[in-house]
């Protein structure tokens, strides 16, 4: 048996195709999502690796564990901060924005 070569994905190997493709926006930029993808998968597919900054120091963060455990991939989805990008399914028309710190700076007193 030959091994897969190049950038063939497991889906390519089984001849799969997404049921549908749709658009969502990330920081004003239009991205294409495939049904079943998480938001993190959509962002990664577009080459975007960071979509949050830390509360202390503003360091960039993206997906780390990818399975909902580490809370590193928090992002603001449709205005709601602290969503785990690796778990939240991408939906048509979603507005995803980079989360700065807590994502709720507007509440500070």
């Amino acid at each position: 048996m030959s091994r897969p070569t190049g950038d063939r994905s497991p889906r390519d190997l089984v001849g799969g195709a997404p049921r549908e493709r749709y658009a969502l926006r990330f920081d004003g930029r239009e991205l294409t999502a495939e049904s079943g993808q998480s938001i993190a998968a959509v962002l990664w597919s577009a080459g975007i690796l960071a979509w949050r900054t830390t509360r202390d120091g503003g360091a960039p963060r993206g997906a780390f564990c990818g399975i909902g455990s580490c809370y590193d991939c928090l992002v603001t989805v449709n205005g709601r901060p602290n969503q785990r990008a690796c778990l939240v399914p991408a939906r048509a028309g979603d507005t995803v924005t980079t989360q700065e710190g807590t994502g709720r700076a507007d509440l500070a007193v």
Partner: protein, 392 residues
């Protein structure tokens, strides 16, 4: 014959009270050992919010203790590492209506006579003090002396400071018996050894009744369960410790039924803490959705902005309470060599330094800074309320 001991006292319990006893005893030149079956702050201390409150205490012995402690915590904040997260943020007690505001006024009048600073805030002032507070409140009182620490850090740093001055700390070692000779306590016994000292301090918190039992006496300390909600990290949305006037009635209540009145506060690390329920259900560790739901809705009623904030987790603990809601502090006249420093209910973090100072004075024969008589461990407690918890 047991060999002579170089210790002046063994302190049972590495919670904040035991740690404060060790701290002040060590500073008084005494050599102490702290022993705990678990870890530092492994019991009620680690399950608290770190309240250092004078606002919720009516004029009387507990308030005197709290005021003494408030000054001591200010000193400790300067002496201990900043990780204890001491914040002199002040408290704000709010009244939903005029009747409850009037009750707060007479409560504050008594407190002022005892040395508390209590400033009445009108309905308009409230929004200035706390911009996110719900509209429609009648007014409230601002208590600038209320403060906060991170309780587990506070206990650990007190203990570390004591150890640096020679105190011994034995963790993960359970006291299984007391060494008693002709009715006098001479030390503690664990599974592997004896620690001998002319004094044993019972700082076992909610489990203090068991230490009393091992000494052949009684102290009716019982658990009063409390839940705390922890929200996702937020910027500073709550400046003070904010709670509704009915919290004071809940604290003083002797009822076994579930009581809750939200105490809302921000923390340096971001999450807002929402305490606290009170119920007497023994040492039942099961989650009470009813209690959490009530707490959450009360917090959202005080601060509507919280309705849209997620709760990340909840924790609970067992406050050690005595039937008259005062701690037991000082030598037990029934058993020479035994001292108690437990039963502080939900105020143990706040009252720890004053307790430590009283215990250090009792151990060293120094003049106590206030009259310890109201906290006598052998005072009559009257009938013991049920249901009682099994000591785990």
């Amino acid at each position: 014959m047991p060999k002579r001991s170089s210790l002046d006292a063994v302190i049972v319990g590495a919670g904040v009270v035991g740690a404060a006893c060790a701290y002040y005893a060590t500073r008084a030149g005494l050599r102490v050992a702290v022993i705990d079956r678990g870890s530092v702050a492994g019991g009620t201390t680690g399950a608290g919010e770190g309240n250092l409150l004078v606002s919720d205490k009516e004029a009387g012995p507990e308030l005197d203790l709290a005021l003494l402690s408030a000054g001591l915590w200010r000193e400790l904040a300067a002496a201990l590492p900043h990780e204890i997260e001491y914040e002199d943020k002040g408290g704000l007690v709010v009244a939903p209506d005029e009747a409850s505001l009037e009750a707060l006024r007479s409560f504050a009048k008594g407190q002022r006579a005892a040395g508390v600073t209590a400033v009445e805030a009108g309905a308009g002032d409230l929004r200035e003090l706390e911009p996110h507070l719900a509209p429609g409140l009648a007014g409230g009182f601002h208590y600038p002396q209320d403060a906060q620490v991170q309780p587990a850090q506070a206990a650990a740093r007190l203990l570390a400071a004591s150890a640096a001055e020679g105190a011994l700390v034995h963790l993960g070692e359970e006291v299984t018996g007391l060494v008693v000779e002709r009715g006098t306590v001479r030390g503690v016994r664990t599974r592997t050894r004896e620690l001998l000292a002319p004094a044993v301090v019972n700082a076992a918190g909610t489990w203090g009744g068991r230490i009393a039992e091992l000494a052949g006496t009684t102290l009716p300390v019982l658990p009063r369960r409390g839940f705390v909600l922890v929200t996702e990290p937020l910027p500073r949305v709550v400046r003070h410790k904010v709670y509704a006037a009915d919290y004071i009635a809940d604290v003083a209540s002797g009822s076994a039924a579930l009581q809750s009145s939200a105490v809302v506060e921000g923390t340096p690390s971001g999450p807002v803490l929402i305490g606290a329920t009170r119920e007497r259900v023994g040492f039942d560790r099961s989650l009470s959705v009813a209690a959490l739901r009530r707490l959450a809705s009360q917090a959202a009623a005080l601060f509507p902005v919280l309705a849209d904030v997620r709760v990340l987790r909840t924790y609970h603990g067992f406050r050690p309470y005595l039937p008259d809601h005062l701690p037991a502090i000082g030598p037990d006249p029934r058993v020479p060599g035994l001292l108690h420093a437990c039963g502080h209910e939900g105020a143990g973090i706040g009252l720890a330094p004053a307790t430590g100072v009283l215990i250090a004075a009792a151990l060293s024969g120094a003049e106590p800074p206030l009259d310890p008589a109201p906290f006598k461990p052998d005072r009559p407690f009257g009938r013991e309320p049920g249901p009682q918890g099994q000591q785990p």
